[in-house]
Amino acid sequence: MDSTTKTRSGRHLELARTLDEEPKRTHRGRLKEFLDRRVFNSATLFGVIPVGTAFGHFISKLIALPQLRKLTVGEIPWVPLRKPLSESTVVLLSSGGVHLRSDRPFNLNGDPTFRIIPKDAQQADLAISHQAYDKTDALRDINLVFPIERLRELEAERAIGRLAEDHYGFGLMGSAKRLMPAIREVAQRISESGVDLALLVPA
């Protein structure tokens, strides 16, 4: 693969590593890339609805709000942090479709499962399976949707006590109800693993 690539602004940027296997570029590929970026804004939901735009926000609300109204009745839970940050164990969760490259990818049209990502996962070990946002930047820097490198730094600097051994990735799932079993399983695992603080990052 080329060590340089053209960015949207046309500048040449040194790419240390990209996460996707880059397919061989053809004229048709270039045209498609142009259309995706400039015309379709690359990311689509269910392959049709463009997102990452004002319209994408509208669609997110349209899909999420009625479901949330049904699923979030009752008291909002509340657990104050029981230790100083410098002694707390922290877990990271992302709905950006992040998973180990060696693991099973998420179903792009909706996936009600989760993936475990170990604390020492490197950028090259990780992939993104999600089609509802423009992944271009997150593939260059996984920390945008899964800030594991930043958290390892905070652990080394003793800003936080410890990073949990296992972290969690979710993909795109339109039906919140169908995702609930996976959500409950992850919540249970976290509560049983001695974690004090969970940080959640969206797509």
């Binding site: 949330l68 104050p80 100083p84 969760l93 945008l144 919540a187 603080l197 940080l199 959640l200």
Partner: protein, 104 residues
């Protein structure tokens, strides 16, 4: 993310979530949310901008120790690229962004 935060916190673990759609963050009725008016796929900011990413993480940690009650959605003031992200010098102290949002 909101439903996940609720289930985790219901089992005894403190949670802080980031959100890029304000209405969804509010409707999720999660314990602690920070809202950023940033593009999808960029919850922590721009690729390679470590200071920006650390700023957001500091705000998340600050929310964990400073939020006075459940259900708050704090809007962070950052204007994407038109912002200077200073290095965080004291991780024990809550961030100015979160403190000032909570006191207003």
């Amino acid at each position: 993310m909101g439903l996940l935060a609720r289930e985790i916190e219901a089992r005894g673990v403190t949670t802080v979530g980031l959100a890029l759609v304000k209405e969804v963050a509010v409707a999720a009725r999660a314990p602690r949310f920070l809202y950023l008016h940033w593009p999808f796929g960029h919850a922590l900011g721009e690729p390679g901008n470590i200071a920006q990413q650390r700023t957001v993480l500091h705000d998340m940690l600050s929310m964990a120790i400073s939020a006075p009650r459940s259900g708050l959605v704090v809007e962070l003031p950052y204007r994407w690229r038109r912002e200077t992200y200073l290095p965080v010098d004291d991780w024990k102290a809550p961030s100015e962004s979160v403190v000032s949002a909570l006191s207003s």
